[in-house]
Amino acid sequence: MSKAITIRGAGIVGLCVATELIAQGARVILRDPAPEPGPTACSWWAGGMLAPFCEGFSAEEPVVRLGQQAADWWSAQGVKVERKGTLVVTLQRDRRELDQFARRTKGHRLVSSEELAKLEPHLAEHHARALYFKDEAHINPRMALAQLRDWLVLSGVVFEQSAETPHGPVIDCRGLAAQDALPELRGVKGEMVILRAPDVTLNRPIRLLHPRFPLYIVPRGDGVLMLGATQIESEERGRTSVRSVMELLSAAYALHPAFGEAEVMEIGADARPAFPDNLPRIIRKGDTIYANGLFRHGFLLSPIVARMVAGLVTGDNANPEFLAHEYHG
């Protein structure tokens, strides 16, 4: 473990892998074209929900099972984890969507309007029925990225601002930029809006099921809320369409009319790196280990992927679950 390992990409995956390798006593260099966490990494635009059970509605089983470890991992890094669960609601017209969501997910119970009024008084003004996923959590993703980086700097990790291919052992966590080496990797565009809504107080992530415009809202404190996120099969980064913003805002307005008075603070878009099954992969090619394809589960699954990569590096776990065996790159 004496030779320094270079991690390419200081987004969510790179930072988590560095954290796990440091814990194993490795010497780590983090190399990224950007000086610090910011809008060039798609994790900058994340929601920060640690919601393995809700994600299970459309994600594969490993996301639900392994994602349950995420909240503890983030707590252990000193990141503030809000363990307040998730509430899932529908508009009156789409009530049956809630029944279907309940059938296809675990870890929830139906809450009455009285209980909803205690959990989220503002939501209860307009909704009588909700599914409560009490074991889910959320974090502030931008704060978490900054905190991990600061801690790594204190731990002696060298940050190099560079896009060059390094020599020696490399762990490649470049996300979509690694398409040059991983042809199956594709981008899935997501768009989000950040609002300041002093008239709507929410304590936990809310998901609105809607046949056309599904929405989640994640509170960031001080009346700031993140609205997300579209999911479009496009690799376009940075451009947000009027239509997408209208859909997100209309859905929020339908959830609670007081969103009409909110201030739009930020609109953003990026493309999530994903493999065809939308599950992460760890791929070994010569001296390089690739960890990629976190899709919409960066904050949920990076800790687990990082632990798997560290196990692979130290030899403690030569066959982690996300290791892609039949890769023909």
Binding site: S58, E60, I232, E233, S234, E235, P276, D277
Partner: protein
């Protein structure tokens, strides 16, 4: 098997490619059902610099015929531009033409549809128009150059099935030799079987499969229902009648 613009397709199932949990599950649905045509939206996925390329490449790798569509277009101009873009991207003259006339019900705009169908047919496109079961509209579409008609069963994404059996039956009777495809509104395989029993040539689905708990299994369910319904149609089913008729004669049965 159905023939669209001189191309015979080995399946009566056409599948849309939106809303699946992942491209891997989308591919499984195609494999397990044997669907012969994939419809693809080019509009929303396009963006700048063909940003949808990676997804489109995966659709091509399914090895089925690709039918690009103009989903989400609300005007003739938009639909025509999107069709031209689709022809360039997928190198095909096929276009599933959608001109939406009503944002809430996603009902086709019959007037815009005929106009766009005429423009595109004259430009060498082979148009698959998403229409209602209105007979006069369908006649106009054929006059405009369409050699396939794709009437809805019910509004897109509702899963309500075949809403106007009379209308669909009279359309079939009126156009005995034209390929007819039920496009939109199906939720269950039994509804697809019914379309086959009416003599329709194929069905096009998306939500019913993509939003099922197990999309690949549901796709197979539809494929089998289509086979059953088509066999029933070709077998010339009995006519319903009011008089009960025992399948075994009872007259003269000695001891019961």
């Amino acid at each position: 098997m159905p023939v669209f613009y001189e191309t015979e397709i080995a399946s009566r199932l056409m599948l849309g490619t939106a809303q699946y949990p992942s491209p891997a599950i989308l591919a499984q649905a195609f494999r397990r059902s044997g669907a012969g045509i994939a419809t693809v939206s080019v509009r929303r996925e396009s963006g700048g610099d063909r940003a949808g390329q990676a997804f489109w490449d995966m659709i091509r790798e399914l090895g089925v015929h690709v039918l690009p569509n103009t989903a989400g277009c609300h005007s003739v101009r938009e639909a025509v531009t999107t069709a031209q873009m689709a022809r360039e991207i997928f190198d095909t003259n096929w276009i599933k033409l959608e001109v939406i006339g009503h944002a809430d019900t996603l009902q086709p705009d019959p007037f815009g549809l005929v106009e766009a169908a005429r423009i595109l047919s004259e430009d060498g496109f082979q148009v698959f128009p998403y229409c209602t079961e209105d007979l006069v509209l369908c006649e106009r579409l054929v006059e405009a150059g369409c050699r396939v008609l794709m009437p809805w069963g019910a509004p897109i994404g509702t899963g309500l099935g075949l809403n106007n059996i009379y209308g669909l039956r009279s359309l079939r009777a009126h156009f005995p030799d034209l390929p007819l495809v039920i496009d939109a509104g199906l939720g269950l395989p039994s509804q697809a079987a019914h379309a086959m029993e009416l003599g329709y040539d194929a069905v096009l689905l998306n939500t019913a499969v993509a939003k099922a708990g197990d999309p690949a299994m549901m796709a197979e369910g539809f494929a089998r229902a289509l086979e059953a319904g088509r066999l029933a149609f070709e077998a010339d089913p009995m006519e319903p009648r009011d008089m009960a008729a025992p399948s075994t004669p009872v007259l003269g049965r000695a001891f019961t």
